[in-house]
Symmetry: C2
Subunit: 236 residues, 2 copies
């Protein structure tokens, strides 16, 4: 028998990372308001007139109200059995239409300052920042997508270290930056080597300001200088 | 009117790079044997039981006879009008089936030593290495895919410089490596700075052997040492 070509719906799924003092978090949505555990990545089927990038921008805008979020496509997930679990099929039936027998998805990555006010106007009633370590079992292959997105952040940071500052407040301490790198690489990073590394980044600029109202010794604030970074890159 | 979700075929397209002394080349296939100019990227619709990676591997294997070619997925192209030119629609009608009104594709990148013997058993009667500078206007968005694949190689090389050696013979001269970098970055690279850069790569190993039967001064050969590279990366 001649093999058949797939004829399928296509979705986008977005992994939005945020960073707080305890580590990395991911923005998840709840499908069922009455089930605390029913979390998934925000996503949507794409429309007839849409490119995949448009669809990902639409999903994130509806979820956050932020118009210009940096989004990076990182991989198409198309395993033939990724939408074959009965509970996932049931949800697709109800949410979109019956008989979605195959579904491929294009995954996107986004970095967001976690203290930004989000204005959710999406179909999902609830969104929440979930610590990376506490992510529950999610539908489809969403756990795998999250796992691969972390590898992808690492690759991108090596190419463009300025990305990490999208996750930090405008003023940050070296200790925060250090914790962020440790969270991204999921390992301890020697603080003295890390200081050397930061010293080699002319775009991490020391401010006059120091922390206020802290019980420990007040640390100095730094900021990311985009212009210095672009100059630095141009000279590489 | 409620917008409709796309229901579409999905293809893969492969950009296979090869390098000779004149620069970078791409492996293209001819759709029409009688038309010298009718070149395109090798690709295929994906089958029902296939993941996209499987489909890309199938296409490359049929085209080259090489079982273990390194393939890297780099982007999904899904513009609503990418398969809307009448000559492209006609070809899809004939080659696959009528009424393919929308087609998204997942693009892959591969690097190949250009002197490898290729064993083409694909449906395409002819394959050829086409110099990057001489690539004709191709169907669909294949020209755009090639352009973006070159950006992608650059990003990858910054992350993993060992990739470039997939394009070189097992024994190569520094001059060849230099020309390859110039071809990838499409710019002149100062040879003295380049020498310094290579000296900092402990995995580029000097051999005792030098060129034979050359009219100019015989250059020394070097090789890529994978073990040294892995050790170097582990210590980064």
């Amino acid at each position: 028998m001649k093999p058949r070509f797939i004829h399928t719906y296509v979705s986008v799924d977005c992994v939005v990372f945020g960073f707080d003092d305890d580590g990395l978090n991911i923005l998840l949505v709840r499908r069922d308001e009455n089930n605390q555990k029913d979390l998934k990545l925000p996503g949507s089927l794409i429309y007839d007139e849409e490119d995949v990038d448009d669809a990902a921008n639409r999903v994130l805008f509806e979820l956050t109200g932020i118009k210009k979020m940096t989004l990076r496509q990182f991989r198409c997930f198309a395993s033939p059995d990724r939408a074959s679990k009965s509970e996932d099929i049931k949800w697709l039936d109800k949410e979109y239409q019956p008989n979605i027998n195959r579904l491929i998805t294009v995954a996107y990555l986004s970095l967001c300052k976690i203290d930004r006010k989000l204005n959710n106007v999406s179909k999902y009633k609830q969104t929440e920042w979930c610590p990376l370590r506490e992510i529950p079992k999610m539908p489809f292959d969403h756990n795998q997508i999250v796992k691969e997105s972390l590898n992808e952040i690492r690759r991108w940071i090596e190419h463009d270290p300025s990305m990490v500052f999208e996750l930090l407040p405008n003023k940050f301490t070296i200790s925060q930056l250090h914790r962020l790198y440790e969270a991204i690489y999921e390992k301890d990073i020697d603080i003295r080597n890390f200081h050397k590394k930061v010293t080699a980044m002319p775009y991490v600029v020391r401010l006059e300001e120091i922390q206020k109202n802290v019980s420990h010794r007040a640390a100095r604030f730094y900021k990311f200088d985009k212009k210095a970074h672009n100059k630095y890159k141009a000279n590489m």
